[in-house]
Amino acid sequence: MLHISTLHYLVLGAALFLLGVIGVLTRRNVVIVLMSIELILNAVNLNLVAFSRYWQGIHGPTALHGQVFAIFVITDAAAEAAVGLGILIAFFRNKETVNIDEVNLLKW
């Protein structure tokens, strides 16, 4: 039976990360771009937790630094989503679009 090693998680994380990158680079809808950023953050989290488990294997079960980091990342993601969506609403109110190509002014 194939055992799932850390590498498998890393590959999964990498794939998610790539999907996120593609989303950020190619989509025009700001909401979806923000969601892609969430995807990237999740990919990072996955790596962190996987490494944390790897680390646990070496340093014993209390070595949970990766998980702590993952929690920080989730916190950060929440903050980022709130501010990002706030900006989006302000932007939408002014320009009535969510198209990222239109975000080309420093002030209005």
């Binding site: 609403i89 939408f92 109110r93 009535e96």
Partner: protein, 383 residues
């Protein structure tokens, strides 16, 4: 009092450009809406949930009652008035009969007067009970509805025993009453009075100090006494705004001057005050009924009125204090058997004009509370 730049119904077709930033959102409430008490249509202009203004569209229940009157004899028209404010049919009948009596210069005999007062005050209680139930239901309390309907049933039973009808009673005739009271009428009324007194306490127990009820009604739909007078608003709404005006005291009709009762007034003119005023009115109505039952004299129940009524040429305006406010009849006679013109001054219609003023700056949920507190009956608004 409609605002000259308020929108016409057609404005509904303009699309709201952006849901988020719309400074004005136009929403159509009714005519098929559970909280508009029938077929009232209200066009709301909103800023988010805040009401900027509103316009009532009425006429969905128009039956041309006033026009019908021109083709009926005075006696024949009598039942029609019951269909206007169908929850207070007795009051409508009283107003009409007294107006015609004034035109004919007859006066109902004292026994008829007393029974008229009893029935009218009973009907006032019934009307207020119905108002309380539906108003509380609009605000979300479902239970008072059943309590008030249970107790209103007792009143309707008395009506049914007296004249055979429960709602559109047609209890009075021009000149007095058609029917002598049935055996045990006085006992029934006395029983009812002692039965309903604790029940009114029960309603108050459910609502008066209920925190949520207070929060929903205090400071909602405030209208000042001055505005009320300017708009012609009458009835409990006017009294809740602090104006002591009750036609029973101000221009006594029937034999109200024989009875002792008080006119409750409010201080703030908000929904809670209107609620309290109506609660006190129910108790005062019971007080009147108690006095009237004690004092029913013996005697005829109908004055001498000609079979074919031909009132002299002229016009008359007579108003009474219906449960909802001043109910007036303006009758023009051309000397024939049919009135030349009858114009009704319905309290609901006039009170409804205050809705716009009362709702401005409030939230959508308050509009429903305010419609409820105005106690309108669409049958009377549209006639």
């Amino acid at each position: 009092m409609t605002d000259p730049n308020s929108l016409s119904p057609l404005d509904l077709d303009t699309p709201d450009k952006t849901f988020l930033d719309a400074n004005e959102l136009v929403i159509n409430m009714g005519p098929q809406h559970p909280a508009t008490h029938g077929v009232l249509r209200v066009i709301l202009r909103l800023d988010g949930e805040k009401v900027l203004g509103l316009e009532c569209v009425i006429g969905y229940l128009h039956r041309g009652v006033e026009k019908i009157a021109e083709n009926r004899t005075y006696t024949m028209f009598n039942p029609y008035v019951d269909r206007m404010d169908y929850v207070a049919a007795v009051s409508n009948g009283l107003g009409y009969c007294e107006a015609v009596e004034k035109l004919l210069s007859v006066e109902a005999p004292p026994r008829a007067q007393y029974i008229r007062v009893i029935l009218t005050e009973l009907n006032r209680i019934a009307s207020h009970q119905l108002w309380l139930g539906t108003h509380a239901l609009d605000i979300g309390a479902i239970t008072p509805l059943f309590y008030t309907f249970r107790d209103r049933e007792e009143i309707l039973k008395i009506f049914e025993k007296y004249c055979g009808a429960r709602l559109t009673t047609h209890a009075f005739r021009i000149g007095g009453l058609q029917y002598e009271t049935y055996d045990g009428f006085e006992k029934d009324v006395r029983n009812f009075v002692s039965f309903v007194k604790p029940k009114i306490d029960e309603y108050e127990e459910l609502l008066t100090t209920n925190r949520i009820w207070l929060e929903r009604t205090k400071g909602v739909g405030v209208i000042s006494g001055k505005d009320c007078i300017a708009l012609g608003v009458t009835g409990p709404v006017l009294r809740a705004s602090g104006v002591k005006w009750d036609i029973r005291k101000a221009l006594p009709y029937a034999n109200y001057k024989n009875f002792e009762f008080e006119i409750p007034t409010g201080l703030n003119g908000d929904t809670y005050d209107r609620y309290l005023v109506r609660m006190v009115e129910m108790r005062q109505a019971l007080r009147i009924i108690e006095q009237a039952v004690e004092g029913i004299p013996e005697g005829p129940i109908i004055a001498k009125v000609p079979k074919v009524m031909k009132p002299p040429v002229g016009e008359v305006y007579h108003s009474i204090e219906a449960p909802k406010g001043e109910l007036g009849y303006f009758i023009v006679s051309d000397g024939s058997t049919q009135p030349y013109r009858i114009r009704v001054r319905p309290p609901s219609f006039v009170n409804l004009q205050a809705l716009d003023l009362m709702c401005r700056g409030q939230l959508v949920a308050d509009v429903i509370a305010v419609i409820g507190t105005l106690d309108i009956v669409l049958g009377e608004v549209d006639r």
